[in-house]
Subunit: 203 residues, 2 copies
């Protein structure tokens, strides 16, 4: 940030009174401009033993595979944003489940949050940001061609859960703990959120 | 946003090509400025059967009680931010636990995330943003003087957990599932995250 977005004057980077970090401060109109990490929200859309992935038509990581996800927008809940991205990128119809993984990536100033989801039907198609959308069994997941480490981590956890559920319930996956979208204020304990963080890649 | 923070020219609010929402677009330098929800991170610092609350010395909700929490900063994980806020607002020394509650508040463009935490000692004191910091037993929680609904919701869930643990373990609270800060990439299933959302208050 070089200019004040409120008045257009040049800003100074300095530590304001009662603060501990440098901020973009406007001496013309007095506004302090804060920057904060952004949330990326997405889903793990499941159909039987398969997961829906999208091949990216945009940078970064053009041509690589990802779970449907994108930046949370103003005015929506994380679940609504995750559903919206799943429609936009994969044209998929889902039933949203519970929050599944939350991964901090401080060096890129993002938090990635993935929800469990169940495909309602097989009527999906790539949106403008995807080259291709298809279902993958675990054995076919393109691990080396995944776009982001948060996606590979989330998929590893997902298949761990599938194996654990198979061991416990003779093949039946655990309940999704489905949230009702728009049922504001309704809350239920959510099973097994994974929380982690990712540091810069070395080498 | 009225002016481009990159070049200082006036911005236009319009829907860019390949987008669906109005954005602040700079026709002088071509930059599109996105705004996204912010994360507020905090803790539930527990000592025996008591919880640490702070009375706010700042607006909004000056004079009301809150759990220590604040905006997540660039370059930190949600857990690091929650610890930092607990030090800044309450001067408290804590052992951080697992993620406990995540509440969407779309109408104020925030997500509030609270971590479980255990006070290591009773050496705490109000920071510059707090008038007073003290421990409360459940019966003494100032429910009507709490600053935010995310705080009252989180405290209600916390005491539900305490009662459930007492019923199951004859008085012993459940394990915190303590995360090691800085142990990047290490992950463990986290017990019972509550996910919810809050809509605008009526009346």
């Amino acid at each position: 940030m070089k200019f004040c977005s409120d008045c257009g004057a040049a800003v100074q980077l300095r530590i304001p009174a009662d603060d501990t970090r440098p901020r973009a401060v406007c001496d013309a109109c007095g506004v302090i401009h804060y920057r904060n990490p952004k949330m990326v929200v997405g889903t793990i859309p499941v159909w039987e033993d398969q997961v829906l992935l999208c091949r990216r038509a945009i940078e970064p990581r053009h041509g690589f595979w990802t779970l449907p996800a994108g930046f949370l927008e103003l005015g929506e809940t994380t679940g609504e944003g995750a559903c919206r991205e799943t429609v936009e990128e994969a044209g998929a119809h889902i039933e949203l489940g519970s929050a599944f993984s939350m991964i901090d990536i401080p060096h890129v100033e993002q938090i990635h949050l993935f929800y469990r989801a169940r495909l309602i039907n097989l009527d999906f198609a790539p949106g403008t940001e995807s080259l291709e959308v298809r279902l993958f069994r675990e054995a076919d997941i393109p691990w080396k061609d995944l776009a982001f480490r948060t996606v590979s981590q989330t998929l590893r956890w997902h298949f761990e859960d599938v194996h654990a559920a198979a061991a416990h319930h003779a093949g039946a996956a655990g309940p999704l703990g489905v949230l009702e979208l728009g049922a504001h204020g309704v809350a239920a304990p959510q099973p097994g959120l994974r929380v982690s963080s990712i540091s810069p890649q070395r080498g």
